[in-house]
Symmetry: C2
Subunit: 457 residues, 2 copies
């Protein structure tokens, strides 16, 4: 059989059920792969091998006794290093917190443990979650597993790299302006950002408490939904009662006109056009949507200023005015809001609220919005990061809305497409994303064929 680390959540659970594989073997396979590859990939900050082996053994016994806890029992997962797990360091990717050792699990980690998941360790990230290259001077330059020397994106770059490289079956990241979805797109995996508040952010080192979310990354839409559903334990009753779409026929999908203001690279533009064609072919009604309050560049800068102001408040209170232990780059961002002044920060909150209200109203006309995940694919470490990396993703954070990023092609580098739904509509969005994923499958197949053709002599 295949190397167990190649298996996704559904395949692992099927093998556990059949008895052809047990959680200990699955975990050992991932640990071996981490040992073999991660010195180069630098996707982990802490590997919790002993804890993982203990948890895997307990899970093995539950499966053997025929009493597994559910679809995550025995599944090897890892979480971004700004999410508390009891007894493991939680660095938030900064030297300032290198020795910070939380005593308790964050609720999301507790939730995964209750579901029987095996925690392999803590994943690399951009310092303080404020940046999207995961070129971390303290914990390592995390690599994109799909192309040597390239960034996995960020800030949850370690989460995307580990999932893409099969070091874990799925992972948790955090997403403040796109930090789950950007690296998912760059690494060719799936990422989910929930409605703000739908998944608890307690026990997470904050970047911006008003924009932060926790969300999973996985290698298929189905696996993504399994982890997401395990974490969406507090959805309002009114949303749970709603029936999901079971076909794309008649589903109304909106394309924001304001995408015109974002410079999409050729591969992203072509991939996105292909997605719209596939959606139409599947019977979806694709319509333009106007979000007049959303000017992608200014909105992103407003979001960044809010992140800087809120993060300054958090780090300043813990590290003092000298911000001891954080890099000069991060410190200078943390100091920016105070220099910008109250009036500009207040204007930034206002901008975000206007975008939120415009998005809310847009869902009067459409069931979902569709847009590229990033305007460009991954780029080499050391190159200047494009300012527009999070332009398309930050919209969902401003809107407090759920969003899923799907890989649509990898020719030569992966590109992602994003679906957004109204705040609270997380469960229906996950179901819709599966339908869209099936509809765009031919795009991925065509890209794979082209890649093979290019590689042939």
């Amino acid at each position: 059989m295949a190397d167990p680390s190649e298996l996704g959540i559904a395949a692992l659970t099927a093998a556990f059920t059949k008895g052809s594989l047990d959680p200990v073997a699955a975990t050992e396979s991932c640990l071996a792969r981490i040992a073999a590859q991660d010195a180069h990939l630098r996707s982990f900050i802490t590997v919790a091998a002993e804890g993982a082996r203990r948890e895997a053994e307990r899970s093995r016994r539950r499966w053997a006794a025929g009493t597994p806890l559910g679809p995550l029992d025995g599944v090897p997962l890892a979480v971004k290093d700004n999410i508390d797990a009891a007894g493991l360091p939680c660095t938030a990717g900064t030297a300032a917190f290198a020795t910070h050792m939380p005593a308790a699990d964050a609720p999301v980690v507790a939730c995964l443990r209750r579901a029987g998941a095996v925690l392999l360790g803590k994943l690399n990230m951009h310092e303080g979650a404020l940046g999207a290259t995961t070129d971390n001077a303290v914990y390592g330059r995390c690599m994109n597993p799909l192309k040597p020397g390239y960034t996995p994106g960020g800030s949850s770059g370690g989460s995307a790299a580990a999932v893409a490289a099969r070091l874990c079956a799925a992972a948790l990241g955090t997403d403040t302006m796109g930090s789950v979805r950007v690296p998912a797109a760059y690494c060719g995996v799936y990422g989910f950002k929930p409605t703000n508040g739908a998944i608890a952010t307690d026990g997470v080192v904050p970047l911006s408490t008003t924009l932060d979310c926790v969300g999973p990354l996985a290698r298929s839409a189905a696996d993504l939904a399994v982890v997401a559903r395990a974490l969406l334990v507090d959805m309002p009753r009114t949303f749970i009662a709603m029936p999901a779409h079971d076909t794309l026929a008649g589903v109304r999908v909106g394309v924001p006109r304001q995408l015109e203001e974002i410079d999409l690279c050729v591969a992203v533009g072509a991939g996105f056009a292909g997605v719209l064609d596939r959606l139409r072919a599947a019977g979806a009604i694709v319509v333009p949507v106007d979000l007049p309050a959303w000017q992608p560049g200014p909105a992103r800068r407003a979001g960044l200023l809010v992140c800087e102001a809120e993060a300054a408040d958090y780090y300043g209170a813990r590290l003092g005015p000298g911000l001891a232990g954080v890099s000069d780059t991060f410190a200078s961002m943390l100091r920016y809001a105070e220099r910008a002044g109250l009036s500009r920060v207040v204007a930034a909150y206002r901008t975000i609220e206007q975008v939120r209200a415009a998005c809310f109203r847009a869902f009067a006309a459409v069931d979902a919005l569709v847009l590229p995940t990033t305007p460009q694919p991954s780029f080499p470490h050391g190159a200047a990061a494009p300012a527009s990396q999070a332009d398309c993703t930050a919209l969902a954070n401003f809107a407090r809305a759920p969003a899923v990023s799907l890989p649509i092609a990898a020719d030569p580098l992966p590109v992602g497409v994003q679906l957004m739904a109204a705040p609270g509509d997380d469960l229906r969005l996950l179901a819709l994303a599966s339908l869209v994923d099936r509809a765009v499958e031919p795009l991925r197949a065509a890209a794979a064929t082209r890649s093979e053709a290019d590689a042939s002599p």
Copy 2:
């Protein structure tokens, strides 16, 4: 027949349909009542008699031709004076804007006009919408129609007073921390605050763009719903598809434990207990709900600081640093945030976000939250305003959630109860409020009987 100004929306439309009354007569009846009473009540800042007569005449012709525009055609309404109506001053209750004359209708006003409503004029309010007595030094001390010398509440005090005194069939107010629902409770009428963004706030002089909402006030739950539905033109499709409750049996209603931290006066406490009894009698399941992030006092102060910071940004940009034309009290509030500093303002936004997330998750266990509208009834003008006036109402603004205030008794002064639902669940909340209104009717009847007994010799 009764004085037409006594009629609510449903009764007016019924009379127009029968032909026993026409919109011109209805409008003239309201204008006569304004002329007779408003020199004392001071609920209007501008009466638009000529415009109203023209609109009423056009509506009369539509009804005569059998082509009315819907359930608001010919209905005499008025709007708070911080909402733009073309060709009428829009003062926001401050001398600074006494001569401000907008050229265009706010979208909400345009929406009412398209529905055929007759705009009687613009209503008095607390200066800048920042305060809850409507004791306006420039435009008049607005009176509570139910008790001489008492406040109607605020900041939409003129809206509530005019509706309660039958000067108009319904009115629009704005609600940033409770400014629709507080005066609705004090004046014994109904008030609705939508999900933030569900009703457009463009063309409204902002207090806090992150918390402001526009909402209607009316004299019955049915009338409230008619105006609300006319304005909720942009609800996400997903919410429109959901079936409403048609009975209270089995509906789960949550009572926040944190109400214990608010000093409820005896009449409010007793009225609220009575409501819970009636809900249980109707088959609802009343359960305690914990909102650990909500500390009513600190949360209200955080909301106030955000209002001050955001309003300072708006007024400062228009009036200059001297804030020419606003009262000393208002100016001192507008200057407070700059003195408090960026860090405290950022902490206030964080507090509000934590309350929002806690409320969102609370709806996992309940269909609605129930709480008193205000901790106390109206009080005499000139007395110190209780600091806690908006403690119970601000929760819905922080939560971005829809809320309805219903009058539950008036013995001797009105008291209100509030229902809140998950953000986006506005239409179902309005239907639920009608069911609750019917269930609490015996409380109002009993209070009326007691009042009569007290008044008998």
